[in-house]
Symmetry: C2
Subunit: 500 residues, 2 copies
């Protein structure tokens, strides 16, 4: 890389972009190490791998805090840039500011602590032993509070953490949105569960046949295998940007929906990355703009499209072809089975109605932890009280309660709300997409998602980081983001399903 | 990483080793990208991958030429170090000197040129079109001559290239050794081929069963799957050091020996890396000391052990169990089939007698190219003349001649001789191993290689880069490396097989 002189705008901007390009290429490499770790890495390589990851992180940190970035930023004449250039600059400036605000010692201590804590959390969860994990979690919360204070520079500490996943979002705005969701969702949940439960799946579903059908589903949703691949892993995830975006799934002989819908979900994430304008590859614009927008894509693929009456009709035929008669009489019964509510403890297994209640619980608790209003020692009781209030039955063990999610053990505070924000965004996009595509259900009934995914690619995905998260959703949906379309969609769908 | 002060020996040495450790960890990451490219990477990711690799190379180059290394090296008091520390320093000094001597522009131009040239070579080979590749090769040779001159700094240019793969080796010494090999090998080859040919394999061998047996062979030779894995790839290779050493193989329904013996060969390379003292991991001592010593391990696993009468007796039973009756009557006939000579053009398919003749041809031609004594335009004719002289029949097409190997297209000059040097080293080691392990054949006849591989681990592998290549072979075999044991072994083995 030739570093151009910084005395003129074009030179400074080119030098900045060349620097970023290399940094983003290295970021892709680090991300692929993570993919490898979950899919291919031999068990005994774990210690060496953590040294390799630390080496990559130290290189990336040095590049992200390179003092030349400040010089280049100062030398660039923003007015001389086009919209794309200004958007690049906005990301570069923000990333540089955040990277510089975080003390290197703190970042290293957090990295060390959380890399161990993930294993300690898994052990505590397996042993149903909250107490053994509390000292670790207390240390993580203390460090995250330090991090939040450093990043906030006088502003709201939780917002500073949230900003890492959802640039520009404020907890107060989310709280208002989520408060508007919570009451109606609690009521809708109770109304559905008061009705007779639809028949669910029973029996065993061959795992090889699940993998064949899940591969077909990924293709049906437009996932491009020429720049991706699908492997099995313990947890489903999507990894990578640009021209190498890989996904994973898992199979369970009694629960084929878990395989199919987690695949469709990850395909939504992956199609977002694959769909970004190729001209942005390996630059700040070349990746999904926020976790909330990312989740809007994964959730609209999974739910509004994948769990629609029209699409499940097609999927029913596919499952009959793959598995024979599995005890569900017809498409309507299958649609009810796919969207069936049941009393459950686990967020990741929740249906569309209950999912956000799980997220809102975590959002409130983690804000209290970061604000210092909730002591880690009181977390379990607070969790269990809130769960009882929203769900109407008591948590029976920690793995069904405050130990169920990995997030806090790896330091992810401010991440949970983006799940519900993504659902809210998906609600807005879905409303606009239905208006734009009157023939959508007829396509979905044939297993053809190209109309829907094409609309999402055109209105959301291709832009990458060009607009802010709220801007891209507002431009695509033609409205300021609001929870109203999501609520209306859920009430319509589940009132019909449960004859409310 | 905290950089210690350079004013005292311990601080400078520690800082140097911390720097190296991170560099070697990054080197492992870059190597694994190469593995991924050959085994897992989606086709359409190639362009992005080359940017990722270039980014890693630029990071590695900056670390390897970091001017602080010079300061640290100056501040270290060598006399205060133990043998291990001094050996580390020897490698660090050598690597730094080489990295600094190579102009960055030249390295970048070579990297760009050879990354394209590999594809151009493959196209030329497929089209049997030498002429289309000559301009590319001429440019590569010109740049490698520049590189050689820069590295040699007044010494022999070819030696400077050779030194990259075999530190301390001199072409003049190799030439003497190879000259002593060539005449007897040409004569032994002619004598064997004048005899009736043993029966070879015919029929089809199920590829899934080949993979099962090759997995068993890898385990039998001590390959540790807890820190490695075996995948299919177009070309067999071993990749990585320390606790993550991966191998690949390939299957061909008519040629199971290709799968089995290429696996055993790669297992030899991989066991060398896996067997190095864990205390050396991610340091200059933590990888095989030279390509010649590496090849000594892969070849002794493959040939002196894997193609021995005792071991092939066991393998015959395994193949009967896996494939049923495949038309070879008994262990003796199987041993003859495994070691059968035939007239062939291709180095990688050659038996133990003919293999080195292929290598010696390339060694002489590439030295002439680098010396400027042979023009690229005359390469094909020179190749074909020499082939006719040594093998007694004419090259029929370029893919059977000077276009058969990828090496020169990717700039590997000075690499070929390490194949034959490895065979020479394997001959020395085999002689000493036989003397040390009188019961070896009885073990091998049971498929038990632990005596042999344990001896190699103890005498060679565990030392990593602690000794120079010649030292480690001399210490292990109790003699100055010489071609005599290899020649004696080949004459004995093939005289018996062919009733000479």
């Amino acid at each position: 890389m030739t570093v151009a002189g910084t005395s003129n705008t074009a030179g400074a901007f080119d030098a900045l972009m060349a620097h970023e390009r290399t940094t983003f290429a290295l970021g892709q490499v680090a991300g692929r190490l993570g993919w490898d770790q979950e899919t291919m890495m031999p068990r005994g390589a774990a210690d060496q791998r953590s040294e390799e990851m630390a080496a990559m992180e130290s290189v990336l940190h040095a590049r992200r805090t390179d003092p030349r970035i400040a010089d280049w930023l100062e030398a660039v004449d923003t007015a001389a840039l086009d919209d794309t250039g200004r958007a690049q600059l906005r990301h570069i400036r923000r990333n540089f500011d955040r990277a510089r605000k975080l003390p290197a010692d703190l970042a290293q201590e957090l990295a060390r602590l959380t890399s161990r804590a993930q294993g300690q959390w898994a052990e505590a969860r397996a042993a149903e032993d909250v107490a053994s994990f509390l000292p670790v979690l207390a240390r993580i919360v203390a460090l995250k509070r330090e991090e939040a204070a450093a990043l906030a520079a006088g502003g709201d500490p939780y917002d500073a953490l949230l900003d890492d996943y959802e640039p520009g979002a404020k907890a107060a705005d989310l709280e208002a949105m989520f408060t508007a969701l919570r009451g109606p969702l609690v009521a809708l949940r109770a109304a559905c569960l008061a009705q007779p439960a639809p028949k669910g799946l029973t029996g065993l579903f061959d795992e090889a046949a699940q993998m064949q059908l899940t591969d077909k589903l990924a293709r049906a949703f437009g996932y491009d295998f020429s720049i991706g691949r699908l492997d099995k892993a313990v947890h489903p995830f999507s990894s990578g940007s640009g021209r190498d975006v890989r996904i994973t799934t898992r199979t369970n002989p009694v629960d084929p929906f878990n395989c199919f819908y987690s695949t469709i979900h990850e395909v939504g994430h992956a199609c977002y990355e694959q769909g970004i304008d190729a001209a942005y590859a390996l630059t700040p614009l070349g990746q999904g703009v926020s976790m909330g927008v990312h989740e809007s894509q994964s959730r609209i693929y999974e739910n509004q499209i994948g769990r629609s009456r029209a699409f499940t009709g097609w999927l029913y035929g596919q499952m009959r072809a793959a598995f024979g008669d599995f005890g569900i009489a017809d498409e309507d019964a299958f649609y009810a089975a796919v969207n069936r509510l049941h009393n459950g403890f686990i967020r990741t297994e929740a249906d569309e109605v209950q999912y956000n209640l799980h997220v809102l619980l975590r959002f409130d608790l983690e804000r209290a932890l970061i604000a210092g209003d909730l002591a880690v020692a009181d977390l379990e009781a607070a969790w269990n009280d809130r769960f009882l209030a929203d769900f109407g039955f008591a948590v029976d063990k920690p793995s069904h309660g405050c130990l169920q999610d990995v997030h806090w053990s790896v330091g992810l505070f401010g991440y949970f709300p983006t799940y519900s924000l993504g659902n809210v965004y998906a609600g807005c996009l879905h409303q606009a997409m239905r208006a734009a595509l009157p023939g959508l259900d007829a396509q979905l009934a044939q297993g053809d998602t190209s109309g829907a995914t094409g609309w999402l690619r055109e209105t959301v995905q291709r832009h990458g980081g060009l607009y802010t998260p709220r801007e891209v959703i507002a431009r695509a949906s033609g409205m300021a983001p609001s929870e109203a379309p999501l609520l209306a969609y859920l009430k319509d769908k589940f009132s019909a399903l449960y004859a409310l």
